[in-house]
Structures are given as C-alpha cells and as structure tokens.
Amino acid sequence: MNGQGLIKGLGITLKHFFQKEITEQYPDVMPELAPRFRGCLQFEFEKCIACGICVNSCPNDVLSFETEKSENSKKKKLLSYTIDFQYCMFCNLCVEGCPKDCLHFDHDFELSTFSRDDIKRVYLRPAEMDEEEEVETASMQDEQENKEQNKIEAMSKALQKNPAKILAQVLEQEEDIKILSELVQESEKTALKMAELLVKDKEKAAKVAAGFVTKEKKNRLQAEKGGEE
C-alpha cells in the first residue's frame, strides 16, 4: 500500500514495453489457422446426390437446392444448390451429416462483401456435367453389361460344378433338379442360358427351368418308347 502498488504496476508495464509484440500482423501476415478451422462453406456439385440431409440438419435454413427428376433414370438431378451465408452459423452440422462429403469448410474467413446479393452463393449445374452424364450413362451401361456378363459366366461355372444347390432356388422337386443338373452338366449352352436367366430374372428362370425339365422328361419318355418299339 501507499504507492507500492502503483510502482509495481508501473514496473509491469515497463517490462512489457520492451517485450515483443503479441499481435498478429494481419493482413500483411495471414494468421496460421488450425486444420479444423471453419472459414467458408464450400460445395462440390459433382459429388452431391441431392439427398437433402444437409438441408434437414441445418438449424437456420441456410441451405436449399432444386432438383429435377429426369425421365430415363430414377436418379434425381440436382439443378442448383444455394448457400445463404447471411444466416450461416458455421456450426458444421451439415458437413457432419453429408454422406458424400460434398460439403466442407475451407480456411477462407474473409467473407465480407460489398452487396447484400453477394452473400448468397448459388451453385448452378455446370454444363459439362450434363455432357459428362450422357457419356457416363453410356459407359455405365457398358460397364453394367460387362458386370452382368461376368456374373453370368461365374454362375454358369458354378452351375456346372454344383448344380443341385443352385437349381434348388428355382425347382422344387428333387427329381426335376436331378434331371436339370444332368442337362446342365452335359451341355454348356444350357448351362449358360440357365445362368443368364438366374442372374437376370429368377421367376423367368423358374419357368424356363420347368420347361427344360418337362421337355427332357418328354424326350426321355419318347426315348424309352422308341427303345421299346
């Protein structure tokens, strides 16, 4: 007391007078940001599947998007995606919800704009994406066919190896299964046909299998008759 406190205070400020500054020299030196820093929300149009989880998880109705159902595919087509930054709380809930990782925060924190209209960010569907999509669908069809082909081949091999087990899916009576198994093991063509049907359409496969069996039964009957005659 009696001035000691005052002198101590003066001592503390004097000590700091000669210490190095602690302030950041922004904007000359940009601040070092932690990896998790949430600056500006970025959207990647290509990855988005328009599931709407982000929109539902947003507490403040920042996000919205427009979709269109295209005729030839069941997929929803994303037309535009809007981020209305003036309401964003940077809470990360949308990013955490997104199943395709198409939302992320980058380190850009200088979000001020000169006009209110600039706050809203609208991502429009890029034109090259439509072109890409056509190519993509074409190539996808190819790919799918390839895949199916592979499946069918694998199936036919399996049929030849262990027919009884697989044919049990389509036929009920053991006798029939046995007959068809023999048939399949005998001819590769039949095996392939059965395999194709099994992969693509089980119901049809059952019908066709039944057909095969009755035909074979007839054949065998005739053969027996012929033998007798």
Binding site: G5, G9, H16, R36, R38
Partner: protein, 366 residues
C-alpha cells in the same frame, strides 16, 4: 440551502461500458445515484421460441450464442439436459474433454470480465493483457472445435470430434501459465491503490440479499458463501476433481473481482487433473439420428456457468422438437441486483458495478 433536482442519465444502450445492449437508466441527485432502472431486451432473439421449432440437435449451435464469451458452458448445460431427458450415457473420454473445454470457457469468460473491468475503470492496458491471455484459449478452441468463439464443439452424447494430438501440450502449458497471468493482473490492477479505492466498499451485496435475489456464481460467492453447483450438485464428472471454492467476505466489487481471479487458478487445477486422468476411448455415445424423448417427460438441469447457475428446463411431448425449453439465465437474474448495489453510490460506481457483476447480454436477453 442548495436546491437540487433529480435527473436521469441513460447509461446505454449505446455506451462504451455496458457490455452489450444494456440500458441502465440512472436516477441521480447530483453525482449520487438514487435508483437505477434496468431496461433489457436489446439483444432479445426469443431463443426459447426458436427452440420449439428446431430439433434437439439443431438447437445446439443456438445455445452457444447465449453466453458467447463462455461458449462451451451453455452448450454443455443444454447437451447434459437432453442427455438426462433421453438417458444417454456419455463416454468417459468425452466427459473429460468436456470438463477441460468447460473450464477453459470459464477462464475465457473470467478473463473477459477482468479485461472489461480493466477498461471500464480506465486501465486500458489491463484490457490488453486479459485479451492477450484469452487469445490462447481461443486458439485451443479453434484447434479442437474449428471456431474461435462459437465452436459448438460439445454435442449431444459427447463431443464433435476427438482432440488433436497437439491439444494436450498446449492446454497443459496454458494451465501452467495461469498463476503467472494472475500475478500480472494482481500487479497491474488488484494491488493498485486507485483500483482498490474504486472497488472497495462499492456495490456491497449482502449475503442475505444475494440469496433472496437469486444471485449465483462468483457474485454469490463474493458475498460469503461457498455455493458452487460443481460441488453442491455435481454434474458430469465434477465430483472427481479436487478444487477449492474461493469466497469473499464483504460482497463488494473488490471481492467479486478477487473471486473471479481466484477462480482462474481453480479452473487451472481442474484442467490439469482432467489432463492427467484423460482416458482413451470413444468420444461420443451412440445417439440416434432423430432424438425423441418419451412424451410428458421433463427435466430441469443446472450447471455452474461462468456467470452463475445456468439451468435448462425442457418439456418433451414425444416429438423430435422440444415442447417447451426455458433457459434460466444467470446474467438475467444477477442483473436484478444492479439497482440494489448501485443505490447511494456515485455515478462512476454504476460502471464498476456493471463490470464486476459481469452480465452477458446475449444470455440475459436470450
């Protein structure tokens, strides 16, 4: 005999030292305060109404904006209330991380209180020193939660993400430096004769009045009772930590100031203990995507926030949104004693009292 008139001076809502949009109408006789009429609501956002239209998870970021200076504390309170409502058990590791973040928030809030008191009383350099030290906490928040101020890092069921690997050394060195910071605040401000003269005997709040008016937190403890919800009704894992409750004796501004400074040290102790015992494991419990508590269930849960008792009262009707959510904001109730402590003082005491009552208007106005 001199004739004098009663006149009013409006401190705020636009005023350098009202800590936000506080409007205190001082009724004065010369420099002597006859009464203070507090007008609130300048930052009213009707958070309680907003809560009724948001799902339980969506409301988490809003709670961070109640007491934006101690951002993790209101979030912690809310998340624990919802967990109580749903009976969610939070993993050990998450509990420890929560304690560390909550205590860091408490320190950040108290450092703002210290810094703001510094500038309110004219010690501008005190402001800078308080802010400088708080900056380290902000960096820790940025590192863990991604945001400096309103990270909404604590989530229902746990925390948003695991701590990064550089977290522990940084927090440890911060906790280690707290006593040095306190020495500096004490040297620059508490020990200063002008400072003591401006605070001693100013804004005396007797223990009786403090309890009657529901004052909680450091303001209540400064009036002379060791009532801290962390000890009185431990929530989370606070019963596992060893810390003291600083208590004042007279309940004046100087006591409130000293209690806050001492609480920095105690929070530092808690952080160190939590770091020592931090277990490995999950950071979040299995929480369903859509939270639907049983209908008709309701809960009042309270935590010791930086400003006092922060309570959430949630009523559920079985839907995915709260039927009713009420926030018992400590700043709102602590501000009620502002006229009481100001009466009879001089004009400058209003500023001292606002600073040492440490209200935060985001919370009091909601």
């Amino acid at each position: 005999m001199m004739q004098s008139d009663i006149y009013t001076v409006n401190v705020g809502p636009i005023h350098p030292s009202t800590h936000g949009g506080l409007h205190a109408e001082a009724v004065m006789d010369g420099e002597i305060i006859q009464d203070v009429i507090v007008h609130l609501g300048y930052v009213h956002r009707s958070v309680e109404k907003i809560a009724e239209s948001k799902t339980y998870q969506q409301f988490v970021p809003y709670t961070a904006r109640l007491d934006y200076l101690a951002t993790n504390l209101p979030v912690l309170g809310y998340c624990q209330t919802v967990e109580k409502l749903l009976g969610i058990q939070v993993p050990e590791r998450a509990e420890y991380i929560r304690v560390i973040m909550a205590e860091l928030s408490r320190i950040a809030s108290h450092q703002i209180a210290i810094a703001a008191t510094g500038i309110d009383l004219g010690a501008t350099t005190g402001l800078m020193y308080g802010m400088r030290d708080r900056e380290r906490i902000m960096n820790i928040f940025e590192m863990t939660g991604g945001q400096r101020l309103l990270s909404s890092y604590i989530r229902i069921g746990g925390v948003a993400a695991d701590i990064p690997k550089e977290f522990i050394p940084v927090v440890r060195s911060f906790a280690h430096d707290i006593p040095l910071m306190i020495d500096e605040y004490n040297g620059l401000m508490t020990g200063n004769e002008i400072w003591a003269a401006r605070m001693q005997g100013v804004g005396i709040l007797s223990l009786e009045d403090a309890v009657k008016y529901g004052v909680t937190g450091p303001n209540l403890r400064a009036s002379g009772i060791a009532y801290d919800i962390r000890k009185a009704e431990p929530y989370g894992i606070y019963d596992r930590f060893d810390f003291d409750i600083p208590v004042g004796s007279r309940g004046d501004s100087l006591d409130r100031w000293k209690v806050r400074i001492e609480e920095l040290r105690q929070s530092g102790r808690i952080i160190e203990q939590a770091l020592d015992n931090l277990p490995e494991g999950e950071i979040t419990a299995r929480v369903p995507k859509v939270l639907k508590p049983e209908p008709g269930i309701e809960v009042y849960h309270r935590i010791e926030s930086a400003k006092g008792e922060l309570g959430y009262y949630i009523v559920s009707d079985g839907g995915k949104k709260p039927y009713r959510l009420h926030v018992r904001a400590p700043s709102f109730i602590n501000l009620m004693v502002l006229p009481l402590v100001c009466r009879g003082g001089v004009f400058q005491d209003i500023i001292t009292n606002i600073a040492t009552l440490d209200p935060i208007l985001g919370e009091s106005d909601r």
